[in-house]
């Protein structure tokens, strides 16, 4: 699977939300989509609020 970025996650999330909002989603599919959306939201939130030590180290190592 392609590596998830904030941008790709948000784009996918927007697509899911629009699909849900259209009101034409099958209930069985809905559960699946809500689960995926929740994963994406958690991923994005983490990007915004949790420090990636690895990245900070890469930046610190630039001389």
């Amino acid at each position: 699977m392609e590596k998830l970025t904030y941008n790709s996650a948000k784009k996918e999330l927007e697509t899911i939300v629009l699909a849900i909002e259209s009101g034409e989603m099958d209930v069985d599919l809905l559960t699946e989509k809500v689960k995926r959306a929740s994963q994406l939201i958690a991923f994005c939130k983490e990007k915004l609020t949790k420090t990636e030590k690895e990245l900070q180290k890469i930046l610190d190592d630039i001389v």
Binding site: Y6, N7, K10, L13, E14, I16, V17, I20, E21, G23, M25, V27, L30, V34, A37, I41, C44, K45, K47, L48, T49, K50, T51, L55, Q56, I58, L59, D60, I62
Partner: protein
Amino acid sequence: MFDKSLSLTELNYRVRDAIRDHLPDTYWIRAETSDVRPNRNGHCYLEFIEKDPARQAIVAKARGVIWSGVFQMLSVYFEQETGQPFTSGINVLVRVSVDFHELYGYSLSVTDIDPSFTLGEIARQRQLVLKQLEEEGVLTLNKELTLPEPANRIAVISSPTAAGYEDFRDQLLKNQARLVFYTKLFPAIMQGDRSEGSVIAALEKIFHYKELFDAVAIIRGGGATSDLSCFDSYGVAVHVAQFPLPVVSGIGHERDVTVLDMVAHTRAKTPTAVAEFFINDGWKTFSDLIGLQDRMVSASEAIAMKEQNLLFSLSKEVVHQSMRLLQKETAGTQQVTATMGHALKQHLLQQSHLIEKREQFVQMVSPQNVLRRGYTLTLKDGKIVTSMQDLGVDDTIETRFRDGISVSRITGLRTSDNSQEKKQS
């Protein structure tokens, strides 16, 4: 020859006197400052230069001095009016007297300054640089960049020792929203002659690592206002304008907008304001995400609710329908029961009628009744006689009537024509 000769001192005196005689007044002159150096006694020494506008080559030069008494007032006044200190590299309009000293030579001593000329010159210079950038088609390039989402990896160009840099980091890393930021300092000299090259070098280094960053912050600590010419220079501006990452400026200048501010993606006044800009942007990114989450929750809740309602009304319908069916069935059963009862009754009634009729018939045909209607019963030896064949002359027979029995002796027998029939009946 020797008698007519002059000592250097004597010549210099003559030059001095000639200058005093021919240039006795003070004169307003336009020139660029250079090598400005206030000394410990409060005097300020400098060079006045004039450049050829096309070639930028120095075409005239004069030493200058601002005596302590004048410089104290003049420097404060100049800084108040222009927002920048009296320093090298600025175009000034100054009133000077022309001096000649036998030992130190030609110099101009400053008695007054017109800051509005400098302001005009700065503005004019800025306009020239902006016009050039526009002609080259790069003026708005950085402004046209979209700040990535999230913009939390920030390359910082600053003097490492500046208080402004610490303020920036503190503000950013201790933000209330607890958003995460990454900063990397690319140190640069932020004022003086070497600042332009230093800032450009820092930009070039960041360019090398551009994939690791979302934006660049060029910040300079507050404190006393200082030379901004670096941020009005074409060199810095053209690099910033074409930089592939959005540049946010915060060079601590309240008064006016430098060329850097004009070409930067976003202009903030101070380093703290730059930090606030990134925090607000991060908060907006976060809010957008929460907005999406809310939309998803409410939309899926709406679907769930709809489904639930549908289910509920379906189940209600089921209950309703089954109730109806049940009622119908019950009613039907009752009907059937009733019908059955009725039918049974009818049947019974019919049966009983039939029985009654049969009784009547039976009664009607009972010997008693038959006798009553005038028929008689003939018995011989206690047995009913139904045929002539059973009788003979002189037999004694009993004839039973309704109301009694007669005993007779047979005197004659006559067989009837239809005895056959009689026999059978």
